[in-house]
Symmetry: C2
Subunit: 248 residues, 2 copies
């Protein structure tokens, strides 16, 4: 499994992904699921992937045309005029990649090669945008009503984002919120694992403001993980106690 | 979907279930998923069900032999010498009920008629016990290592139970913890809905210490739901802030 979140704030985009892939619990590997392309001062596009690894790697390779010789490669992401076009192109690649695998595998492959992709970024002169692309290649865009997208193992870490999100929060608080959400998920589900990849894209800068790989010995993440348990207990005890002899 | 939790504390058992059943989002009903049988001073047995409603209702009806005329009914739960036997009998009924439906439906029914059951209770002279029964009829028992079971839509409400559970906590705090867990789930998933059924079984009493149906206008639940949002935000802000200029 996987857990990736893309979050849209007024000040920019905060993105986080885990790196665990597993084919059964006895076959665990570390693979990067966050990929960035940038043209300094012009555009930055970051993609996070969940689902069948061979399919998502194939999509990323096709985006970079890695099947061609180095001299002949070009990245279609640099040509797309808008983020909407970027999402459309990636959606096409995802649908065709999954379609090929499914048909090669026949009916047996039902659902096996599914994958989803979060696309985030900004092109100069336009707003930062955030999309979630479905296996069918269609996609939705984040809005004020739905300002974040999760893919993969989304449920454990969802309540805290729903409760904690505020579009006016600082980028630093956005990072802290995703750390808590990932910590809750890591504590509950073995298929999501460290290290985590973090990227912060500030509005109108077209390069990552901050990039960081969070490993087991990351002191800030350790502090959050330990502190959140205590903070939750404190929050729990701050609520009024239940009484078996209620009047209402 | 459904959400039910059975939690074993030193002082007894705390059980909570929702009541929403749905067949699509446009066909929502309220059905009780918690059922109790008691022989005062001798035994109390409570069952919570998740999964295909027709299957779980069939199991409960068979437990009570409701297919017979009233005068001829007897409840096998009152005859079982131990809670282990109770779980075994319910497991058999669940497996055979699901098996009949699956075979009547042929291969098309793959997975459609699945169901799980939590069984909790105590028989005089023995310890309180808590079991989770799988659709296959086999089951596991709660222990010090795994002192609570969830069935249905389990993921949203799991992190707070993992963080907040303490076997020495009071029964009242157990109720509060489950209220928070259910509130997180209700906020994230439409398929789990109010009202909730709550039951508290104190060790060695063989009758419910407390039973309550939590409806939309339950003032305590409203207080917890509103207060938890604020308490979480406070907990979040009590954690150290992230800095983009870290040294580690």
């Amino acid at each position: 499994m996987t857990y990736c979140v893309g979050m849209m704030l007024d000040k920019g985009l905060v993105l986080m992904s885990d790196t665990r892939t597993n084919s059964g619990v006895d076959n665990i590997s570390v693979f990067r699921k966050m990929f960035t392309w940038q043209e300094p001062g012009e555009r930055i596009i970051t993609v996070m992937t969940a689902g069948n690894l061979a399919s998502t790697q194939a999509v990323v390779s096709q985006l970079e045309e890695r099947m061609k010789e180095p001299g002949q490669r070009e990245n279609i992401l640099f040509e797309a005029p808008t983020m909407f076009n970027v999402a459309t192109e990636i959606g096409k690649l995802l649908r065709s990649t999954i379609g090929e695998r499914q048909s090669a595998n026949g009916a047996r492959g039902q659902g096996k090669f599914t994958a989803s992709i979060i696309v985030a970024g900004q092109i100069k002169g336009m707003e930062p945008r955030l999309f979630m692309i479905y296996p069918e290649g269609n996609f939705i865009e984040a809005s004020l009503d739905t300002p974040f997208f999760q893919i993969g193992e989304t449920k454990y870490g969802r309540p805290i984002i729903i409760r904690g999100y505020d579009r006016e929060m600082s980028l630093e608080d956005g990072v802290k919120l995703l750390m808590v959400s990932f910590d809750s998920t890591l504590k509950a589900n073995l298929s999501v694992g460290l290290p985590l990849d973090l990227q912060v894209i500030e509005r109108d800068t077209f390069e990552p403001k901050h990039q960081h790989r969070i490993t087991h010995d990351d002191t800030y993440f350790q502090t959050i993980s330990a502190g959140w348990g205590d903070a939750l207990k404190h929050a729990f005890h701050s609520l009024p106690d239940y009484s078996f002899y209620r009047e209402d």
